[in-house]
Symmetry: C2
Subunit: 116 residues, 2 copies
């Protein structure tokens, strides 16, 4: 991932509203939610929600698809995994020893990695 794309993704997640929307969509992957459902959960004017959804779509973190009168939004899990990979690579690739030592302490992986 290019660092310019990374900063644009971080920008998309830098607003409380957008992070909450994105988390909601992740929880509702892969089926997604239509805008009205998101609005109910978020309790903000629809016009403002639209503004934030547009930003999420432009970042690529969220995709949108028309479904009759509704618009269905979905979190892009693959891009999210790319972001995780980007952070992990930035952290480790040029400095593996340092990162490994901290990882051993915090034991991040054992808690969150999927079983394969």
């Amino acid at each position: 991932m290019e660092s310019r794309q990374a900063s644009s993704i971080f920008e998309a997640l830098s607003s409380d509203v957008r992070l909450d929307v994105f988390r909601l969509l992740v929880k509702n992957a892969p089926s997604g939610l239509v805008a009205g459902d998101i609005a109910k959960a978020m309790d903000i004017p629809s016009t403002n929600l639209s503004f934030h959804l547009k930003a999420l779509v432009q970042s690529g973190l969220v995709s949108v698809e028309r479904e009759g009168r509704f618009l269905r939004y979905r979190a892009s899990i693959p891009l999210m995994l790319d972001v995780i990979a980007y952070l992990t690579a930035e952290c480790c690739s040029d400095n593996p020893e340092c990162c490994r030592a901290f990882r051993a302490e915090s034991d991040v992986d054992a808690r969150f990695l999927p079983t394969r």
Copy 2:
């Protein structure tokens, strides 16, 4: 990690300048760099660099320590690992099957996980 802290960290990484500075500091972990060295690498006025360094320090992603006439900045690798854990947890905890399937496709882990 609280989602409010997460969005504040994403905000810190949402500027190209700050992401570049942070990546530079990660590459130079754990010794860090003094402000002047960062300024040389970044090619922006020192007053503007100061502004962005302050934002990074306030987010917690970077720490600062006086060293004689210099100020030494260091990336906080543990907090970065917390962010990775946060994203991973958001992605997987409520939706492990979905995330696992995507992971298997992109094979993120095999590339970046430390050997233990």
